[in-house]
């Protein structure tokens, strides 16, 4: 996998908004003094009147988004995952989720790949927090192509959507002519019969790479990309459990309540299967270069490979 193009999905978010802004007059973008980092700057430059900087006040920003949505605008609210899903959780729940308002939350800097800023800014809990809100769609795209498609799909969807983006440049893996994005539909990226890696977000490319290494050892791994954590593609997961037996989830999020939790919920009820949840264990992150952290926490291809190897044997 040499010479693969890499783009951080936060860049994709900003670019997609700037594109979509040309077509959609009712689209407005909100930031809380992080427009530089959330990459909405391109939208701001193109549509200064439709970019609202709320200052460092995320809770108020969520309420403002609710007011905008209830009067016909489609707000994309941008901040770090820690503050969008964490700090403003109750505003998202009560001001946006409960009235089922058409607000899109663009949360960047999710997971440990935030890197040097450390644990205070590394949100490994956002998927769990957002998933539990009734009616909330939760999307975690794996690369630039998927992230841009997800922004468009979120705009087209009527109702609240949480979009998770990363700071670290991610390999572009979906750049193919037949690529299609549909909310709630998982994508089988590699077929296999011995086990299934169910990955999401930044970890999808690592899971694909790990599958190649496993193949060299004679283990035929299926790889499924679950870009929509909620509603999750139950049929695809049940089919994978039925056909391959073992299910391994891979995510840059706590193993509690995120993809691993969601898959375990589905399978325990519909088709119990032997499972392994790879992700951030019940711990906080730490400072360091993002790539080194992914390695340390076993979320890179090598880490995934080793864990699957031990689990399968």
């Amino acid at each position: 996998m040499s010479e693969v193009k890499k783009i951080a999905t936060r860049e994709s978010y900003g670019n997609a908004l700037a594109e979509l802004g040309k077509e959609a007059d009712n689209l407005v973008v909100l930031d809380a003094d992080l427009a530089e980092a959330t990459k909405t700057g391109t939208f701001k430059k193109a549509f200064p009147d439709r970019h609202i900087d709320c200052g460092i006040a995320e809770c108020n920003m969520m309420g403002i988004a609710a007011g905008l949505a209830s009067t016909g605008k489609v707000p994309f609210v941008s901040s770090f995952a820690m503050f969008a899903a964490g700090r403003a959780f109750e505003q998202v729940r009560n001001s946006i989720g409960y009235p089922h308002l058409n607000v899109k939350i663009g949360a960047t800097h999710a997971g440990i790949s935030v890197g040097e800023d450390g644990a205070s800014h590394q949100c490994n809990e956002d998927l769990a927090l957002m998933r539990v809100i009734p009616g909330m769609v939760v999307i975690n795209p794996s690369d630039d192509v998927e992230a841009k498609a997800a922004v468009r799909a979120a705009y087209a969807h009527e109702g609240p959507v949480y979009l998770r983006f990363g700071r670290l440049a991610a390999p572009v893996i979906n750049d193919r002519p037949d690529y299609q994005f549909e909310i709630g539909k998982g994508v089988t990226l590699r077929d296999g019969k011995d086990l299934t890696l169910v990955a999401t977000g930044l970890c999808v490319s690592g899971a694909l790479e790990a599958a190649e290494k496993l193949a060299a050892d004679g283990i035929d791994a299926r790889v499924i990309n679950i870009h929509t954590i909620k509603p999750i593609d139950e049929d695809l997961l049940v089919q994978a459990a039925r056909e391959t037996g073992e299910i391994i989830t891979v995510e840059e999020h706590s193993v509690i309540g995120g993809l691993g939790g969601a898959v375990a919920e589905v399978l325990s009820e519909k088709y119990p299967a032997k499972m392994l949840r790879i992700g951030v264990q019940d711990t906080f992150g730490e400072s360091g270069p993002a790539v080194k952290l992914l390695e340390k926490y076993g979320l890179d291809a090598a880490g995934i490979y080793q864990k699957v190897k031990a689990f399968h044997s």
Binding site: G55, A57, S95
Partner: protein
């Protein structure tokens, strides 16, 4: 409507509040009664609304940031014709469209779901901003409790509204002086309230008696004429107003009257109504 007609209507609104809370066997009569006059003024005199078309695009918006006083808003909406007054005793019952706190999906005439304190003002600010973005002429009103302004989010919203010069926004603070744990100045004093809003670049109007229609009329007229900054109306009111045993009693913040108390309250209101008819 004349001030006298509005006063009479406020008595009807209060009857509805007492009836609703009695029917629910729970709820918040104190702050509903203190705000009954401002609810009445807004929905019968001030706001551009149409009960036949509750969602009309150019309507003025109201957000009840102090959402626990939903009985006051419900009674006002019912008396204004958004839904039958007979619905009021179903408050908080299973299957009723009258939820414990305002819910936009359930009740005709409700513009925002609220109840978690401090959040409604932000939603109102978003609505006002929205009107500015698309050059719409509707105004946005939001009612806060004086205890509620202890929530930090209120000041985030105030800072933003002042910064953006949202002169289509009118924030009203119901200064009845009491919150669940006691007097607001004993629990965690928000005073001076007016100075605070002024510091956040609001035009501030102090209303000495927020249970007086003439004073409310003067305040809202001034608010509407204010350009270039949002308005905050800080109105002194009496919690539990017009029900003898509830007035200024902290215990009646969130408690329903029993049958006997209900009869006394309705008698108080009947007399208040009759007194107005003598005028």
């Amino acid at each position: 409507m004349t001030d006298l007609e509005l006063q009479k209507m406020a008595v009807e609104v209060r009857k509805g509040i007492v009836t609703a809370v009695h029917g629910a066997k729970a709820g918040h009569p104190g702050g509903s009664l203190s705000a009954a006059d401002v609810f009445t003024y807004l929905y019968f005199e001030e706001m551009n609304i149409d009960p036949k078309e509750p969602k009309k695009a150019d309507r003025d918006r109201f957000v009840l940031s102090k959402g626990h006083t939903a009985p006051g808003l419900y009674s006002t909406l019912a008396n204004r014709g958004f839904f039958p007054v007979e619905d009021l005793p179903t408050l908080r019952h299973i299957g009723s469209h009258l939820q414990g706190h305002p819910c936009v999906q359930h009740t005709p005439g409700i513009d925002a779901s609220s109840g978690s304190l401090g959040q409604g003002i932000s939603v109102a600010v978003g609505m006002a901003l929205s009107a500015k973005l698309s050059n719409d002429s509707y105004r946005v009103y939001t009612l806060l409790g004086d205890g509620e302004i202890q929530e930090g989010q209120v000041w985030e919203a105030a800072m933003f509204a002042g910064h953006r010069k949202l002169d289509n926004l009118c924030v009203i603070v119901d200064n009845n002086g009491l919150q669940i744990d006691g007097k607001i100045e004993d629990v965690c004093s928000p005073y001076p309230i007016s100075d605070k809003f002024q510091a956040f670049n609001f035009h501030v109007i102090d209303v000495a008696d927020g249970n007086d229609m003439a004073q409310l009329r003067a305040a809202f007229t001034e608010a509407k004429q204010t350009k270039g900054q949002p308005t905050a109306i800080i109105m002194k009111t009496v919690k539990g107003k017009c029900v003898s045993f509830m007035e200024n009693q902290v215990g009646w913040h969130g408690k329903a009257p029993n049958d006997e108390e209900y009869a006394i309250a309705m008698e108080d209101l009947k007399k208040a109504g009759e007194a107005l008819c003598q005028k």
